[in-house]
Symmetry: D2
Subunit: 134 residues, 4 copies
């Protein structure tokens, strides 16, 4: 079962609702989010906009960080770097975030975003950044 405070936080993000994103797994410094590739979030070539991969990767990384923070804290992104590996095309995007180092205040995170077309997986983006508890 998913930690209720993270499920609640996720449910309050209207951005996740607009992207039809679902929180699949979260806990112990790891978080998985799935979302379909929607017609309304594309760039000019018909792939998902880089901002979609960023948004899903950033959220997965953020909730991975929050899963290790004390009760009552919220998480915010300090900074995030994304390398785009291939255009985000297909049926679904899977974002997996994980904690690299949980410090007292800052948490270093990483995320991968993969596009699925049927059974075929293609790496779309790699993210590395910093989260802060507030």
């Amino acid at each position: 079962m998913i930690d209720p405070r993270i499920a609640d936080s996720f449910a309050r993000q209207s951005m996740m609702t607009s992207l039809q994103a679902r929180l699949i797994e979260v806990g112990a410094g790891r978080c998985v989010i799935h979302a379909p590739l929607l017609a309304g979030f594309q760039q000019q070539h018909g792939a998902a906009h880089a901002g979609v991969a960023f948004t899903l990767g950033d959220s997965a990384a953020g909730y991975a960080a929050l899963s290790l923070m004390p009760e009552g804290q919220e998480v915010m992104t300090v900074e995030m770097k994304i390398n785009l590996l291939s255009p985000a095309m297909g049926d679904m995007l899977h974002a997996v975030g994980e904690v690299v180092r949980a410090g007292r205040r800052l948490t270093i995170v990483r995320a991968e975003v993969v596009a699925l077309t049927g059974e075929t997986r293609k790496n779309v983006a790699l993210l590395q950044g910093t989260m802060i508890g507030v």
Copy 2:
């Protein structure tokens, strides 16, 4: 008047339409995009999701790069780093992208995203990255 190939490319990005973003200015290695802060793109605290600032900054930077590329080229993001300076709250977001160095294949770009509440401006995000002509 805005370069028609950039106006066309922008118009084909359904992501820009969904964000109600408007292309305000583009040319000579510079691009300005405005968008309202919409209810459907928020994080859990009621500010715009970091992904919105990323998306607008990335697009402004991308079109700044494209404005210096030869006719017939398209632009893609290789990588982008964003530092978040304050929560994106208010009425509007203004993203300004500019080219730092236009190379033969790679273009180094920068973007700033500012939130406006009435006349008050607040810096929201600073981006630095690499675009490629394809």
Copy 3:
């Protein structure tokens, strides 16, 4: 005159001594460091190693941040992104660091590194990152 606590901190960095770097200016969220291009710090093509531009830009950014921190604090780099614009060749490298936003704990910084050959200036690197007071 340069703030003595920053001059002292700089003088304690043996890395700066090895690079023959000099603290030229510091104050009000800005710092300038100059260093010659030395034979012992090159990559395989005879330019300065990317690590030299990184080191000078990172230090200039760090002291720019420290100049706005309360007495008694020290500064550490949380993260730094560097885009390399052209090979670092010539006589001297000038690094200019500046504060973009000084927060209560985190300071967002930027730096530029320029190579000088006689009177000719060439942009070598652009950095953007986060400093923390400790």
Copy 4:
């Protein structure tokens, strides 16, 4: 045995010689570099300067990329992001670079830098960036 073109390139980097760095392993998109923590490359608190971790991680990532490039190519860093996880103190630094995605022109890379004090290992830095064949 280490690919001679990579051993040669490494040997021509005076920066690696100054850092007393040794090329331990390279091949198939992976490269390991070891270096002692030297007195002449410290920041103001007696740890290695962030520029040392950057330099070793960047070089390990670069040679990992080069190991997958065609004969006759050289490698240059386009951009690199480093998150610093803890101060670089101890006896040795080990940098491990690996290729995430080798494209036709651009190669996405990652590197980790670890400090060793006797048998104790501590993660020092995590890097993610882009290399180009020239």
